[in-house]
């Protein structure tokens, strides 16, 4: 009985959460477009969150606009442009390719290529030059390997 209030409270929060984003679409395609757009568009208020993940008042406003425009039959491109005109490229998590965003788009590829190049150069490098063993040393090595670990017969006497 003591927990009834808490349980009811939890139920209420769940319904409230769900109520935020219940929208009627004319087709499942429109709904998918809406989901994709609010996923891709960024909230200018709570930066680093997309519209879908934001509860800010501004994010709700922008979601309303996206919804209204989808219902009005606008294309994804038109809706994106509508927001970019107002909020700049910042609004999108997929900014267009231009001089100021070249590094953003190609930076990772550039890094990959340069690391690949360095690794390739390293693989071409000749192995370190070592002096080959002479016959005595070779024989000694052989003995060590076969288990009879005695100094080579013709080596210098130990001090």
């Amino acid at each position: 009985m003591k927990y009834l209030g808490i349980v009811l409270g939890l139920l209420l929060t769940v319904t409230a959460q769900a109520a935020i984003d219940v929208r009627e679409f004319r087709s499942p395609v429109d709904e998918a477009r809406y989901r994709a757009l609010i996923d891709e568009l960024r909230c200018p208020k709570c930066q680093n969150t997309n519209l879908a993940g934001s509860d800010a008042g501004l994010a709700d406003d922008l979601k309303d606009r996206v919804y209204e425009q989808i219902q009005a039959g606008r294309s994804d491109g038109e809706i994106r442009d509508y927001l970019v005109v107002r909020y700049g490229d910042f609004i999108s998590y997929k900014p267009p390719m231009k001089a100021s965003t070249l590094l953003l788009w190609w930076g990772p590829a550039l890094l990959l290529v340069s690391v690949g190049f360095v690794l390739w150069r390293r693989s071409l490098r000749k192995p370190a030059r070592v002096n080959p063993l002479n016959a005595d040393e070779q024989a000694h090595l052989q003995r060590l390997l076969t288990g009879s670990a005695q100094p080579p017969i013709d080596s210098e006497p130990r001090a």
């Binding site: 200018p44 208020k45 930066q47 008042g57 501004l58 406003d61 922008l62 606009r65 970019v84 005109v85 107002r86 909020y87 700049g88 910042f90």
Partner: protein, 186 residues
Amino acid sequence: MKPSLRKGFIFGLPLVLFLALAVLLASRNGEDPSYLPSARLQQPVPAFSLSSLEDPERMLDPSIFQGQVSLLNVWATWCVSCLVEHPVLLNMAADGVRIIGVNYKDDRQAAQAYLRERGNPFAETVFDERGDLGLDLGVYGAPETYLIDAQGRIRYRAVGVLDAKAWLQELKPRYDAVRAESAGAK
């Protein structure tokens, strides 16, 4: 690669990277990383036809920005920071700065009472109940203050509380420059 060159590379590269990072961080120091410049810089104030806050019968449009340099201040009674900057706006208005208010997503009665109580620094106040003008301007956090030149174009946007320091250091130099420019054009 020659050994000496190689050594220079190994020791020099971290140093170069460090210096580059130090310069980058120093240049960004003190800046607000969440600040967004207006996407409409150098463009006219977006078209609107909205009623005056004081007089619902009187419609206002962007022609109120023609002919003189103005500031456009986006405010609301629900915006706590707007309370803070209100005295600053009053002082600026007393010094002869023309400020146009945009009452953003607010209640008309509440906003009228707010101005009656605290004084009205605005030459005109546009009542933007639905937030359409705010959205067209790209408002993302009230209060915001836009510098509008005599041709009605947006020249600068300041986001956040316009305190005396922000006015004197951030906005006033730009305001004076735009005024000088339009005085020179005449």
